[in-house]
């Protein structure tokens, strides 16, 4: 009997230690989607609290949805009126400008006027659209959809636009940026950050890629270690009119939704860059992806011709 008591005490101690083991996770809503941070290691709970605070800070500065954000102020500003911005907005602007030039405009944080015209902005979207914009309407907004209409002053930390109609939207890069910033906070080696499907992890993890034509199933998985993955697809926000699908990833050259891939997943070091490249490759296609593999990025694409990998990717079906 005494042995049984000792045995129970030992088991209880082990269980208590295991369940109190330093691991933590936090989940909430930001950037119009859920996010989840899981960490194993000492001070997990503390760092998750800091991460949540950081995500809120980024969202408050950079989201088009937040009325008092820098982006909202820039978008409603007059031409030539400098708007003071915070460090996150500044970083996002600089990175977005670089990527705009690198991808020949395929990633375009200034495409918001066109997005609004197609009713794909968070404020305007509803699934039962009755019409699409005319060529004429598209022609009116296209000239305002350029990063070149914005300038950033490093000294005063201000962004100024040359035309009132020009608007910014960091929706195609903000989740990746936030994920990168949170990963910088974490000293723990075993973690996974998932912000609306844009993922950064430390120790090796298995990540499923959603099937763009059956969102409850996966097309396969990739192994990710000390890296990021981000996906853009034509199934994330779209409407169907006259039997045709119109989705939210717009091509600046046509003024209409991109044609080609159903989804593009990008694997690389920076989640922000993966986020932007996934949009850019949806627009520009395989050639751009091939070019970007030289920078160490890998791609998994899904389209009418099936599933393809470009660059070094450990993808399994």
């Amino acid at each position: 009997m005494k042995k049984l008591a000792v045995a129970i005490a030992v088991i209880l101690t082990i269980v208590t230690v295991l369940s109190g083991c330093s691991a933590g996770s936090g989940e909430a809503i930001a950037f119009g989607s859920f996010y989840n941070i899981s960490v194993t290691g000492i001070s997990a709970a503390k760092v998750i609290k800091e991460a949540k605070k950081l995500i809120t800070e980024i969202e408050n500065q950079c989201s088009t949805n937040v009325e008092t954000s820098d982006v909202a102020k820039i978008n409603s500003a007059e031409a030539n009126a400098p708007i003071h911005v915070g460090i996150h907005t500044a970083s996002l602007f600089k990175l977005s400008k670089e990527l705009f030039l690198e991808t020949d405009g395929a990633f375009n944080a200034a495409i918001f006027p066109l997005v609004e015209l197609w009713n794909f902005s968070p404020a305007s979207f509803f699934p039962e659209q009755k019409s699409i914009p005319s060529e004429e309407d598209i022609g009116v907004v296209l000239p305002y959809c350029s990063m070149n209409l914005f300038s950033f002053d490093e000294n005063s930390l201000t962004i100024t636009k040359s035309h009132k109609e020009a608007k910014l939207d960091f929706g195609g890069i903000a989740k990746g940026y936030a994920a990168d910033k949170v990963s910088e906070l974490l000293k723990q080696k075993d973690f996974i950050i998932n912000i609306g499907g844009t993922i950064v992890c430390g120790k090796e993890k298995t990540i499923g890629i959603t099937n763009p034509r059956d969102v409850n199933s996966l097309i396969g998985t990739v192994k990710l270690e000390n890296a990021s993955i981000s996906t853009s697809g034509d199934y994330e926000r779209y409407y169907v009119l006259g039997g045709k699908r119109y989705h939210h990833i717009l091509d600046i050259l046509t003024g209409a939704p991109s044609v080609g891939f159903y989804s593009v997943s990008v694997i690389g070091g920076s989640a922000a860059v993966c986020d932007a490249y996934s949009t850019a490759v949806m627009v520009k296609g395989k050639d751009l992806a091939t070019r970007l593999t030289e920078k160490g990025f890998g791609f998994v694409t899904v389209g009418s011709e099936g599933i393809d990998t470009i660059g070094e990717v450990s993808f399994s079906r």
């Binding site: 009997m1 005494k2 008591a5 129970i8 005490a9 088991i11 209880l12 269980v15 208590t16 295991l18 369940s19 936090g26 989940e27 909430a28 809503i29 950037f31 119009g32 989607s33 859920f34 989840n36 949805n65 968070p122 979207f125 509803f126 699934p127 996974i192 998932n194 609306g196 499907g197 844009t198 993922i199 992890c201 993890k205 298995t206 990540i207 499923g208 890629i209 959603t210 763009p212 969102v215 409850n216 996966l218 998985t221 993955i229 981000s230 996906t231 853009s232 697809g233 199934y235 994330e236 926000r237 989804s263 997943s265």
Partner: protein, 146 residues
């Protein structure tokens, strides 16, 4: 000197031995504590490894768990927080029957049934997720992004 202390030890344990012999091996109190401990062990094991996969759907409001339902029981559940969402469980799957949010992307989500799958209503701060460890550590490319 050694003999003295050894003698004292012998006397001490003998005293204890007879004390316990008289009371029996366990006090009644010991038995009750023992039962509580066993329940605690079993309960904590259960919480550590979770329920069965795909059996329970959890509803979160702004990151806090506010409700849990069994997938094995058909039903309609109204969630009233920032807005109003109605979750329906039918045939082992959960879906968003209706929502007061503007874009109603959540209403157009496919029914969920596998551990880790979720339906998000971002404007109302609601996440509906099937409890359990999914087959993968994370999924990229989620539908219904805002």
């Amino acid at each position: 000197m050694k003999n003295e202390s050894s003698k004292k030890n012998i006397v001490f344990s003998q005293k204890n031995a007879s004390f316990y012999k008289a009371r029996g091996i366990f006090f009644k109190g010991d038995i009750i504590v023992g039962i509580i401990l066993i329940i605690a062990v079993v309960a904590s094991l259960f919480f550590m490894f979770g329920g069965e996969k795909g059996e329970i759907v959890d509803v979160y409001f702004e990151g806090e768990l506010i409700a849990s339902y069994s997938l094995r029981q058909d039903g309609e559940y109204k969630i009233e927080r920032k807005g109003t969402n109605i979750i329906i469980i039918n045939d082992g799957k959960a879906s968003m029957l209706s929502s007061t949010c503007k874009d109603r992307l959540c209403e157009h989500s496919s029914p969920i049934f596998k551990a880790g799958q979720r339906i998000v209503c971002a404007p109302n701060g609601i996440v509906v997720v099937i409890r359990g460890k999914p087959d993968v550590d994370g999924v990229t490319g989620v539908a219904n992004e805002f």
